[in-house]
Symmetry: C2
Subunit: 226 residues, 2 copies
């Protein structure tokens, strides 16, 4: 398991793992649209690989809730909906809250350093919305939770993070209209966490998520997405 807690194949070892990484990115970033039929042959050509790696990668993605498998009728990307989004947001808040509190309860110097480092990288990554930014953003949030010593919980959080970020990508540039100081929000969470201030860290984290959540939820309700 990698740093994010996701059961993500490492690097570019096998064709299956390359396919998994590529497809996951394509779905999360919206290159493959929600509900889109995923034809094996099309993907095979697109990723320049055989059918077996594609099928295996899609099987893995099925259990990440990013792909649906229809018995004998192939695969398609998961649909989006306001209900689905709200479910993700709610679960995320519950599980990350749990993980963060546990993480802080177990806090060690090593963990504090990891979190500070992750935060530094996040600050350095200027362009919000870019692929590089999203990567360090996720890394920061996962680092906060990593000390909970709970691999399954981490995996759930990582999965939910990806499901959520998919909606962020779909909203695209609309998100930039938000008048928020996200950097300030991150710093606040970091400070509270390393100070061992569980309650405040949790509140700040959940607010951080809910602010984006309400905004996206509004877009979904208007039918601006999908």
């Amino acid at each position: 398991m990698n740093i994010s807690g996701q059961a993500m194949p490492t690097g570019d070892g096998s064709a299956t793992q390359r396919a998994y990484n590529t497809l996951r990115k394509m779905i999360v970033t919206g290159v493959l649209k929600p509900g889109e039929k995923l034809k094996i042959d099309g993907l095979r050509q697109r990723l320049d690989t055989g059918a077996s790696p594609i099928r295996e990668a899609l099987s893995l993605l099925t259990s990440d809730n990013l792909v649906e498998r229809l018995d004998q009728r192939g695969f398609r990307t998961a649909e989006i909906s306001a209900e689905n989004f709200n479910e993700i947001l709610t679960l995320r808040c519950t599980l990350e809250d749990l993980a963060l509190r546990e993480s802080i309860a177990n806090r060690t110097q090593d963990w504090e350093e990891d979190v500070v480092l992750a935060h530094h990288r996040l600050r350095r990554a200027k362009t919000e919305g870019s692929e590089a930014f999203e990567e360090v953003h996720k890394a920061f949030h996962m680092a906060l939770l990593a000390n909970a010593q709970s691999p399954i919980l981490m995996k759930f959080c990582s999965q939910l993070y990806d499901l959520n970020i998919r909606y962020r990508y779909l909203a695209g540039s609309a998100l930039n209209y938000q008048k928020r100081d996200v950097g300030e929000e991150h710093s606040g969470i970091l400070e509270a966490a390393i100070a061992g201030n569980t309650q405040e860290a949790s509140e700040r984290l959940l607010t951080h998520y809910r602010l984006t959540g309400e905004f996206l939820s509004g877009l979904l309700g208007d039918g601006a997405l999908g």
Copy 2:
């Protein structure tokens, strides 16, 4: 998705799905031991099918945390440990508590009938420990949660249920030495749930899990398992 909320292939349609169902059962029931190497060729012969369905089934099981995928070194069943067990128990209690409360909050006549029916089938299934019993037992617990209207949460609970039941199977007959009236525990949960008594239902459910949990945890600590 089926009644349990698990992303389980339906029936015996494709070879992949048969393989998935069979392998999952074999792992959960301990026919395949924890940490055991899963050689493609061996399974291929054992299940009388090709390598592709086996590999796909194993990929699916990977994301259920029942199988580990080692880059270019094949598959093996997930290891067991006291930490892993405790993590499963803790998460299960948190998530099922959440789901049950939501389920009760949304309660409808249809749901009540579903739960009563599931409970009846559970009572009728005499022989505890048998495969048939375990099936209706899971069905009962999932029925309790089903009304939470939260597919992802259901899937998590179903997954955790299977992970947990695996330890129960490994403990095997040792469990029978417990002096408990499990039937009474189930009835208590049922009554509280359909009466809309959220707090009591939740407490009874968690006690139900923790009683078994403590017992199993004891066995694990003694090194009686694994």
